[in-house]
Symmetry: C2
């Protein structure tokens, strides 16, 4: 491949309206079929035909109730509510594909590590090593209440707990069953060698776990680790654990700085700066010609709901934008709200108004968007990679599956022709495909350190 290979995930969620809100009302949109397995197996086949690296499945626990102080618009515009469990989709899609990876979002704050580790191991087995885990810690008080807690842990404390959660699952995935423990020897009647299977023990501030990991080692052991934290503490967590990072940005300058900061973070953790693949959220609208793409954009926009996009953004920032006049400067009270707002709009927050935000939300979503004929899309995709150092994109869906079909049929061939996109999948597990290294965590990754020392007690 002559140029840097562009990596692509399709970005989706087990719900109707994911990022580009309002488009569920478009007559050709099929997102209401999300409860039908055929919708998902069809998508998986389409993405594999387009040689996508993965399907990135978002998730949320809780509801968006900040905008107007209730969930009325959330329900009417189905803003990630209802939302079904993403893990339940994977085996059906894995059964009809051979190469496509699955990046599954799971909020560790509400999972028991012992059972969560088994679920991921099971999916890694069933997919023959094609599973990734997008690690999130959650941010909604509505989720905390649903889980029986008065409110969230404070932000940095959530990440402290997350670090400890990671220690537990590394012990289970990496430390409980040694390589060579599973013999499957019918003649000698030894399925597993007891001397090579270990009870792990973890007694920390947040978790107490003693036991043998219930699953034998899967191809990757630890799934490929995705993360999207943007705060300082979130980035520190990502620098330590993440193998793929998902970012959101509107300008090349800001993106370049963010990419450099992420790679510097990896180096500080003793890792290769290229050990983290960086994916940028992006919305693409294309057509056979420039005119067709622009027409399509306008037609899509006529169904989009910028207000629903704003309501979604209210939940993310904690700012009830319904209380602002269109041209009133938005001055959030909370620091994390400013950070979130500033990161998204990449301007000092004092310049921002609801009118400007709504303009950015013309297609109902707040990711950067590009519109044009396939050549122009390819130009943009290549130039962002070349100019900012990102590795690829998480592509949102607009009208689905049409927007993914257009991308696969129109844009992928152009990228392949130019030599910036693979014509065939690499062999092996998701980690092998992404990094051209082993199926399991590289030696310098923190998780690899749990391979032996964690095995504290012979079972």
């Amino acid at each position: 491949m002559s140029r840097k290979e562009i990596r692509l995930n399709a970005f989706n969620m087990n719900c109707v309206s994911h990022i580009n809100h309002g488009l569920w009302t478009h007559p050709r949109d099929r997102s209401q079929d999300y409860t039908d397995i055929a919708y998902w197996t069809g998508l998986a086949r389409l993405l594999e035909r387009g040689k996508f690296d993965g399907l990135f499945l978002a998730d949320i626990v809780g509801v968006y109730d900040v905008y107007q102080g209730n969930t009325d618009l959330t329900l009417r515009e189905t803003i990630q509510l209802p939302v079904n469990d993403p893990m339940m989709l994977v085996s059906a899609m894995a059964a009809v594909t051979e190469h496509l990876g699955f990046g599954i979002t799971a909020n560790l704050s509400y999972e028991a590590p012992f059972l969560f580790a088994r679920r991921m191991s099971t999916l890694d087995h069933l997919s023959k090593g094609r599973v990734g885990w997008n690690i999130v810690t959650g941010y909604l008080d509505s989720a905390a209440r649903a889980m029986g807690l008065h409110e969230q842990l404070e932000h940095d404390q959530r990440y402290d707990r997350a670090d400890e959660f990671m220690d537990v699952v590394y012990k289970l995935w990496e430390g409980s069953w040694e390589d060579g423990a599973v013999l499957r020897d019918r003649a000698r009647r030894i399925y597993a060698d007891p001397a090579k299977v270990h009870k792990i023990a973890h007694h920390g501030d947040y978790y107490h776990v003693e036991g043998i990991h219930l699953s034998e080692p899967s191809r990757q052991r630890t799934p490929v680790l995705y993360q999207a934290g943007s705060s300082g503490r979130g980035q520190a967590f990502g620098a330590r654990h993440a193998e793929c990072v998902f970012i959101s940005s509107q300008s090349k300058d800001a993106t370049r700085k963010l990419v450099q900061s992420i790679r510097d973070g990896a180096v500080r953790e003793g890792r290769d700066p290229e050990a983290i693949k960086i994916f940028m959220g992006l919305t693409v609208v294309t057509g056979r010609t420039e005119q067709e793409a622009q027409d399509r954009y306008r037609e899509y926009a006529s169904y989009a709901s910028p207000e629903a996009g704003l309501a979604h953004f209210s939940a993310g920032t904690g700012i009830d934008f319904s209380r602002y006049d269109l041209d009133e400067p938005i001055r959030p009270a909370k620091t994390n709200a400013i950070e979130s707002l500033t990161k998204t709009v990449t301007q000092p927050e004092s310049n921002w108004t609801k009118r400007k935000l709504l303009q950015q939300l013309e297609l109902g979503g707040r990711y950067a968007s590009i519109v044009g004929a396939p050549d122009r899309i390819a130009d943009e995709l290549e130039s962002w990679v070349a100019d900012t150092g990102i590795d690829g994109y998480n592509l949102t869906r607009t009208v689905t599956p049409e927007s993914f079909e257009d991308f696969v049929d129109l844009v992928i061939p152009v990228l392949q022709e130019r030599g910036s996109y693979k014509r065939e999948y690499a062999q092996g597990s998701l980690r092998e495909k992404l990094f051209q290294r082993a199926a399991t965590l590289p030696q310098e990754h923190v998780g690899a350190g749990f391979r032996r020392t964690a095995a504290v007690e012979h079972a």
Copy 2:
């Protein structure tokens, strides 16, 4: 159908050695392929070809460490260890079948009701209403330690908590989204009507949950509820909640009494005595002729491990049988161990010795077994149903999938010919198929009471 219709589940588990231990060493046994999706989709297709009502998937959290005080034999003979998550299998199997039900075991003691309810709703959506839940509360201290607890809750307290867990999930499944809440109205931009979606609130002794159920209503709302409790408190729980009960017995007399007791329990709860379908665990070995069946039995038995069956039974009873001489009377210290032992062997425990137990475990498992040509098997299946009042069987696997293939190819046609087994599936969800009633819980079921009154707060 001229005679009482026999109901059939295949009994299986996401692991190598399930009930009939040792047979994983048989040259034709494919249970080591349990990590391969094709093993499961192939099984699902086979069972649907045989018009099985369901695939009943067992599960265990924890390991068997009572026998010899360690897990050495458990690992060598792979006695339900390793064991992968059963829920992850369902979407792949649902995608290749149209009618087969899925009874999924999940231990509520270690689940968060808010997220568990979403997982089951997701699977009920994806399977178009074919999901059942086998409710278990667990019995292993090794599981409690893995989950960060010092030990199990005391037995009856586990069931108190289980009752409260059920209240929470009924509220979510039945009470959060009214019928008619989901409009999917593109023109009016109303996916769901906020006036018909309710935040549930539960503040009890064990659980605190406030929130809208994340999933819109699935076809059955509440999955078909399976249960297998045999203690007094367990049976009381089943009488209140269960729609299918799984029993284990060796004699018709004991079975008849148990069946009567289960149906009496349902009546005490204001339910129809036939509102509970009763399935008995059974091992069948058949062949085209009586001789072939007997030969097959002997061949299977030569690979079985009665000792592994005993080790499994040790975990269930808490009795370390390795400490007993072959002819020493077994006198367990704990009451629940006596209950468990007595129930299984259906004799006063004082008569029992390890030698007698091992004889019962000739095929490695402790369920009743019948061996013979298809006609003889059909005779037995019919006579147990007629004489005891059970509805059908949970069929264990021996050499897999061979034993299910033999049953489907040889026994099912005989039963169909006699009019005691369906030739075609009924239409609709699993609950409709089993009970010829509505897809959702009947009005007299305790869960139906949560349909309105639980909706305490407008979201």
